[in-house]
């Protein structure tokens, strides 16, 4: 950033995180504050006074809330707290204007001058994999495999540590390479709580956690769309695996389009709610993501090392062990959830035979029951 101070003290830089933690404070707003007032003490003073010089940064309707939040920041002490907490959790302050982040976040896009990080930082090549929290099993499997394939190609997989697709992507990537989780809360307190162990795995595999708010912040709902912009920014391409007609992953997709990052979406059947969002992204011009090759092409890399094969044979090692009835039932189970009764009608076999075959197929991992009354194929298309 052209206004960078020659040697700002750590306390000064830590205050940018405190500003990031203010209510409804967006990333571009912080970037704009930093452009106008490179000294965060000055920026905080302006926010507190809630004057007209905040025009174009904080909307009038939010100005009071933001300024009263800023009143609670005791400059020196808050900064010392932030540094102490970062120290305690092994985190650090990272300037966005320096490599490796500067290779991903262009200065003119408006980013906070400083973010906090634990573990490794995202470095090109990076790809974000995002999607629904309530993802389907095949969706999660696909995300996990895609992330593993990309990580094996040396791509750093960026996601948001949430349930569903995010979790599956991190899990796939930690097994094969590096992954970075961008958090809506602080890095000392990864949210959701249920994924603290996953955050640990990410750190152990030389991946990292990144956040633009103080290390002990919680993750209020309004901050997720803001966080999504950081995910899109840190990625050279964004892949949406499963998305409902409305939801957070579509906001990441919108940020990607605005930031000019290639956007890919995984197609799905039009009658399934899990693919309604991705299918409309595709209709609006997103690139089709069938496997890692599509993603690598989007970021302009040729597959190296381990070959990623598009016509990977369906891995159904168990099929030979199935008898005729079980094969007939397997044929009657579609790729999206289907009531057991209609599978039984479709297969035209006695119900007891169908149930027994389904039990066997479930045991072999060929069929899953997303709800008690429905079954679906698990093999990824």
């Amino acid at each position: 950033m052209n206004d960078r101070q020659p040697a700002p003290s750590p306390e000064t830089r830590a205050l940018w995180l405190a500003i990031g933690g203010l209510p409804h404070m967006g990333l571009t707003a912080i970037g704009e504050l930093a452009r106008r007032w490179p000294d965060p003490f000055e920026a905080l003073a302006r926010i507190r006074s809630a004057g007209d010089d905040l025009k174009g940064i904080v909307p009038l309707s939010k100005r009071w809330e933001v300024s009263s939040g800023a009143q609670r920041i005791d400059d020196a002490r808050t900064a010392a707290c932030i540094l102490a907490e970062l120290d305690r959790c092994g985190g650090r302050l990272v300037a966005t204007a320096e490599p490796p982040l500067s290779e991903l976040l262009a200065a003119e896009e408006g980013w906070p001058p400083v973010v906090s990080a634990r573990g490794g930082l995202p470095a090109p090549p990076t790809v974000a994999i995002v999607g629904m929290r309530k993802a389907s099993l095949p969706g999660r499997r696909f995300a996990s495999r895609l992330a593993a394939d990309l990580a094996a190609e040396g791509v750093c997989v960026v996601s948001g540590l949430a349930f569903g697709i995010d979790r599956a992507s991190h899990e796939g990537a930690v097994a094969a390479g590096r992954t970075v989780a961008v958090l809506a809360g602080g890095v000392a307190r990864p949210s959701p709580l249920a994924h603290i162990a996953l955050a640990g795995e990410v750190l152990r595999s030389e991946g990292g956690l990144v956040s633009h708010v103080p290390p002990l912040s919680d993750a209020p709902g309004w901050r997720f769309p803001i966080r999504n912009r950081l995910i899109a920014g840190l990625a050279q391409a964004v892949v949406v695996v499963e998305a409902a007609a409305r939801g957070g992953s579509l906001s990441t997709a919108a940020h990607a389009v605005r930031l000019g990052r290639p956007l890919l979406a995984v197609p799905g059947p039009p009658w399934w709610e899990h693919s309604s969002g991705t299918n409309s992204l595709l209709a609006d011009g997103a690139l089709v993501c069938r496997d890692a090759l599509d993603v690598l092409a989007a970021i302009g890399r040729a597959p190296t090392g381990r070959p990623v094969s598009r016509d990977r044979p369906h891995s159904l090692p168990a099929v030979e062990a199935l008898d005729d009835d079980e094969l007939a039932v397997l044929d009657a189970v579609p790729a999206t959830p289907e009531p057991i009764d209609s599978v039984a009608r479709e297969s035209q076999l006695p119900l007891v035979t169908v149930l027994s075959a389904l039990g066997r197929l479930e045991q072999l991992g060929l069929v899953e029951a997303p709800t008690p009354s429905t079954v679906m194929r698990t093999d990824c298309p």
Binding site: K134, I340, D341, S342, G365
Partner: protein, 520 residues
């Protein structure tokens, strides 16, 4: 002059004989009642006095002492009115008393001399039988209930004035006999054939009924969970004689009418005598612990679990029941009875029911629905499923998936009689269990050693069980084998084959929140 009238006090479902001793002697006119009476018994003084005068007798202006013996036994309720009144009249020589020593008497009196119905008459009649008394005198509207005990002369009375000319004649059938076999028609609970489609759910319920397994129905709102559950009593085997008496006793004690399976208002007894249908109880999810397991501070009455004894306890919106209430279900599920301890007494009620729980798949109810998208967030799912887990769920063997039928199937559905055929298969499967297990012990109640002794896995089935073992707890493994055993029993097979195990696996309870089970 002393008179003694036989009556009964109940503790739990057991009746204990009580001697109502009345002494009418000289002295200052007074009326004392001793022998550990509760408030309702003590109030009998006012009712008895008024009823005697209103019935045209004379109130003896002498010293009246009533003792309820044994004095250590706590007496409750209003049914000592009639024996006390008869005792006073006999002691004062206003009625003929030759019949009194051979009859047990209960009944509540109104101020006008009317004899009113009371709850628990069946246990009175059974007590009379076990005491070797040839007859009972009961309120006329309870006489059918008393008749059900069998081999008793049941005298139904409706007014105290009837005793002026000695013991009234029993109306109609004088010597009572056990009611002929209850008709197998279960019109009261409906037929499975009235439910369109739902083949999987019906099959799962058939397996549950055959093995006495507790089950949980999961399906979206309006899919027919309640409709199916109501029809479960109709596919269970008919009640045997002992069960009919126990069930009738419990209903009689709770003041719930016998005969009608869904419970008529308290105090009204139907003309059926003994309960002929398996009970179906469906407590609301706001029910308290006391309502469910029974209780009361002085007068201890059976709760829903006991009223569902030998029948079906249907708990709709299972996850909405208070956790403490669900915890209280563990003892009856484990032991087949509840024991209730209060200051007044400690009683046991039988409570061997088949639990049919029902739940939506998620808070909004439309998870996995083909009709409507689920509107809950991911955390809500996890929380909802966590509520449906824990030690209680471990005791539920079968998950009954209830899907939504396509409209044309429902509209074109021709109701057919299915319950009777299912019941035939269930009865056959149960008799196989009784034969193999040596006593009336359903597969669901087999413990570790018995399960090993009776499960009879073939080599391939054992391998299939081992293959599933990685995914379930040890209790889950036991319930997998029990359900497989029941499925084999339904098919009339001596050995459990691999496909029985696979079917049982399909009918198992779902496990916790579904995160990817393994990475590939």
């Amino acid at each position: 002059m002393l008179a003694v009238v036989q009556s009964v006090a109940t503790i739990g479902i057991d009746g204990h004989p009580v001697r109502v001793e009345v002494q009418v002697g000289s002295g200052v006119p007074a009326f004392t009642l001793v022998g550990l009476p509760d408030t309702a018994v003590r109030e009998a003084r006012e009712r008895v006095r008024s009823a005697i005068i209103a019935s045209g007798y004379e109130w003896p202006l002498r010293r009246i002492t009533v003792n309820l013996a044994p004095a250590g036994l706590r007496k409750q309720g209003s049914w000592f009115d009639l024996p006390i009144a008869l005792g006073i009249l006999a002691a004062d020589r206003q009625v003929d008393d030759v019949w009194i020593p051979s009859h047990m008497v209960v009944g509540e009196l109104g101020l006008d001399g009317d004899v009113r119905p009371v709850a628990g008459v069946l246990s009175v009649a059974l007590c009379a039988r076990s005491e070797g008394l040839p007859g009972v005198v009961v309120p006329v509207s309870n006489s059918d209930e008393a008749t059900a005990a069998g081999h008793l002369r049941v005298v139904g009375v409706n007014h105290l004035g009837q005793f002026a000319a000695g013991l009234p004649e029993p109306a109609g059938d004088s010597v009572c006999k056990v009611k002929p076999e209850a008709s197998a028609s279960d019109s009261a609970c409906g037929d499975m054939g009235e439910v369109a489609g739902q083949e999987t759910a019906k099959l799962a319920l058939e397996v549950a009924a055959a093995g006495g397994h507790h089950c949980l129905m999961i399906g979206e709102p309006g899919s027919g969970k309640t409709m199916l559950a109501r029809r479960v009593p109709g596919i269970l085997p008919p009640l045997d004689e002992d069960e009919r008496i126990t069930v009738s006793l419990l209903h009689s004690l709770a003041g719930v009418g016998t005969g009608a399976p869904h419970g008529s208002p308290a105090g009204s007894s139907s003309a059926h005598g003994l309960m002929s249908h398996r009970p179906f109880r469906s407590p609301h999810h706001s029910a308290s612990i006391t309502a469910l397991v029974g209780g009361g501070s002085t007068h201890i009455t059976p709760g829903e679990v006991s009223l569902a004894h030998a029948g079906v306890l249907f708990m709709d919106e299972f996850g909405e029941f208070r956790p403490s209430v669900l915890d209280a279900l563990r003892q009856p599920l484990q032991d087949g009875e509840v024991s209730i301890s209060r200051r007044a007494a400690r009683v046991r009620f039988p409570a061997r029911f088949m639990l049919v729980a029902a739940s939506n798949p998620c808070p909004c109810g439309f998870l996995g629905s083909t009709r409507q998208a689920c509107s809950c967030d991911h955390l809500a799912h996890i929380r909802y499923r966590r509520r449906l887990s824990g030690p209680l769920m471990d005791r539920i063997d079968i998950c009954v998936p209830v899907g939504v039928e396509e409209p044309h199937r429902v509209l074109d559905h021709e109701p057919a009689a299915e319950s009777a055929q299912i019941r035939v298969r269930v009865v056959a499967a149960r008799s196989r269990q009784t034969q193999r297990q040596g006593r009336e012990l359903t597969n669901s109640r087999l413990d570790g050693a018995e399960l090993r002794a009776h499960v009879g896995l073939s080599g391939k089935a054992a391998a299939a069980v081992r293959a599933h073992a990685a995914h379930v707890s040890s209790r889950g493994l036991a319930s997998l084998q029990k359900v497989a055993r029941t499925i084999a029993d339904l098919e009339g097979e001596d050995r459990v084959e691999a496909h029985h195990v696979h079917t049982a696996w399909r009918l198992r309870m779902p496990v916790g929140p579904d995160e990817p089970r393994g990475r590939r």
